[in-house]
Symmetry: C2
Subunit: 451 residues, 2 copies
Amino acid sequence: MSAARPQLKLGAFLYPTGHHVAAWRHPEAQADAGSNIAHYIELAQLAEAAKFDLIFMADGVGTRGTDIEALSRTAVRYVAQFEPITLLSALAAVTKHIGFVATASTSYNEPYHIARKFASLDHISGGRAGWNLVTSSSEHEAHNFGRDEHYAHAERYERAEEFADVVRGLWDTWEEDAFLRDKESGIYFDPDKQHILNHKGKFFKVRGPLNVARAPQGQPVLVQAGSSEPGKELAARTAEVVFTAHQTIEDARGFYKDLKTRLAKYGRGREELKIMPGIFPVVGRTQAEAEAKFQEIQDLIHPVVGLSMLNGMTGGVDLSKYPLDGPIPDLPETNASKSRQKLLLDLARRENLTIRELYLRIAGARGHWQVVGTPSRIADEMEHWFTTGAADGFNVMPPHLPVGLRDFVELVLPELRRRGLFRTEYQGRTLRENLGLSTPRHPARVQTAAE
Amino acid sequence: MSAARPQLKLGAFLYPTGHHVAAWRHPEAQADAGSNIAHYIELAQLAEAAKFDLIFMADGVGTRGTDIEALSRTAVRYVAQFEPITLLSALAAVTKHIGFVATASTSYNEPYHIARKFASLDHISGGRAGWNLVTSSSEHEAHNFGRDEHYAHAERYERAEEFADVVRGLWDTWEEDAFLRDKESGIYFDPDKQHILNHKGKFFKVRGPLNVARAPQGQPVLVQAGSSEPGKELAARTAEVVFTAHQTIEDARGFYKDLKTRLAKYGRGREELKIMPGIFPVVGRTQAEAEAKFQEIQDLIHPVVGLSMLNGMTGGVDLSKYPLDGPIPDLPETNASKSRQKLLLDLARRENLTIRELYLRIAGARGHWQVVGTPSRIADEMEHWFTTGAADGFNVMPPHLPVGLRDFVELVLPELRRRGLFRTEYQGRTLRENLGLSTPRHPARVQTAAE
């Protein structure tokens, strides 16, 4: 019976020391994770043994933030860690089944490099690569690439649209069977199966062809995370997996329905895009144990870090001069992020939170959906989201590593399997196949077939 | 006695199917090498077992050439193969000692990306990364990056100079012991040991810091190959290994002396830069066997490919309309590459070569030093170059792979070891240590030490 149930897609989202803002301070966390390859090999092999669909890596081409007091107390914000494409290439060599999704920004890259590196990773891994397309919104990244400010939102997305088209175009410059490698005749490739791109657009001029053969997956899987209006349109047109952040099932369902509905406009079916919200699970054998675990790591948030996150999330509200265990003071409105600011301050007043309580409320999971509970409670929540139109799967964000991932694998996965919701073996050879995505054929082949 | 002799440095220069222009057609060649990861893992492990210092990867960000008739018969010219940084990252995960040098162009990259990827590879490999800095001189690469023509020579080198400085500056944005990771106090890094770069130059504006910790080697090894005047100056100022192409020992000695002499001007010692010419060895148990092997692969050069190489090497002389086995006709001089054209045509006339004989003379090793002979003959030549001021070591360019590398390892290396010229075990932990290069300390530390 249970084998017939639709299957959850699961990603292991590996932040170096874990997703909790104070993860690195946890006694069991690998504090040097950002430069410890053995740590990542252990995690990749653990996730593969557990049959996760993929490992997901976020990225920033620069440290986010310049508040040195807070930065010097944190391992998140891309202070210092492996670069994702090199790291995932290394992990591909020591695994056989799990997929690898690396984030790369369209704002500070060239499409030829991105097309090439992901195609290369797809060959290295035998069809297990995915590209998480992001647009950079941090001025700290701009400063590393000759710019004083980051691109404005509209321009960023216009560039991303064209960037994605160029990358996909380059991935289509060789047909599947272009390389004959016929030693007898001396023909290495069939010239008719090479397609020059000759792209000339607003942002890019790229001739091609790509100097990597067509990817084993046809094209690496295209992943996105944008939730703005242009972000959702880009995703509906091009993305195959969308990673999202929702704190409530209502939000998640609204987003899910919205995005799935948009697919038709681009001639795409609902199954061609998988939506995987983040989940930050704190697992305990009992509810009390889970809560104690959560409290233990919450207590590790240094006030300087908590206040700095509050400052960031409210668009610049500085509460560092007020007593930490006192109420939120009356504040003048700032221009930036008014709605987020109001949301947070309203929350604090409604629940009578102190400054410390407020930052503890938001800092831990950094805005992601946080579930603190027993394996069956967490499985209940995941099943509920999955079966009621909020998610096709989840990107699992362990609070600290490696233990947080091991807890999820040892405690939550057996419960999901008992319910018939998650595989016990990989069915596909490629990331696409495991995700239930079709393998795109070369456009010239599709045409031929249609003639 | 022999243990006391200076030791050769050896690189394994891995071109997908091998360095001979017709390598892929050889019965024993791995024709799909460019997308066969198992092939590269086999080669890397073979080279490591043989104690090579490093694996060297050339690169081009685009296919070189548009003559589709010739291109479709060749596996060289970057038609389709793994991207080097992803490939070497994968190989780092399945090896422990051997170094990895990947080529990346300063013309079509951003210094932040390059600094980051090589620092990341250095962490992944535990101190085994090197960057071969090149400037792109092919318009085919320019066309993939929004340009109609490649940068002019002077501008290319001016950009490369600044690019190298930015990369090395970014590599110095963290001191060795910046990351305290003190769980008790909550201090992740010492702010005083982070150094903002704030570079503002003609080509680049880069704030930094790099978001990767200081490399295990201090800095990844800097490799270059330029032989023009600005190329030699850049090498004398910044390179630690120089890969060169010389066909005669006289040329090699002249280059060696010239470059080593330039070091003093930059306050560098002769030992701080290793010069490694390429060697294209065809090994046989007897001279006759070696020559037969060479002839076998020479015979695989398709006339279309041979004529196309002749065309490229003479700057556009088209001999395709003349009888292949007839003499070189009288030709009008072209503007491009006059000296190279004259050199080749003079050679042909002096030795009475047919068109086919001429392209066979130059096409095989693509301009590199070619030695066809027994292990002792090849070891004699290498020893002679090494002991008479022509080389600190060699970049070994097997004719076809994997067999060409295996031949060198099984036949030539024992002979070099018998003479005490090459290690039997790795002595160092890092590429630098194996090459006999010192590990650069952070400038702030050097200053402190001097105070």
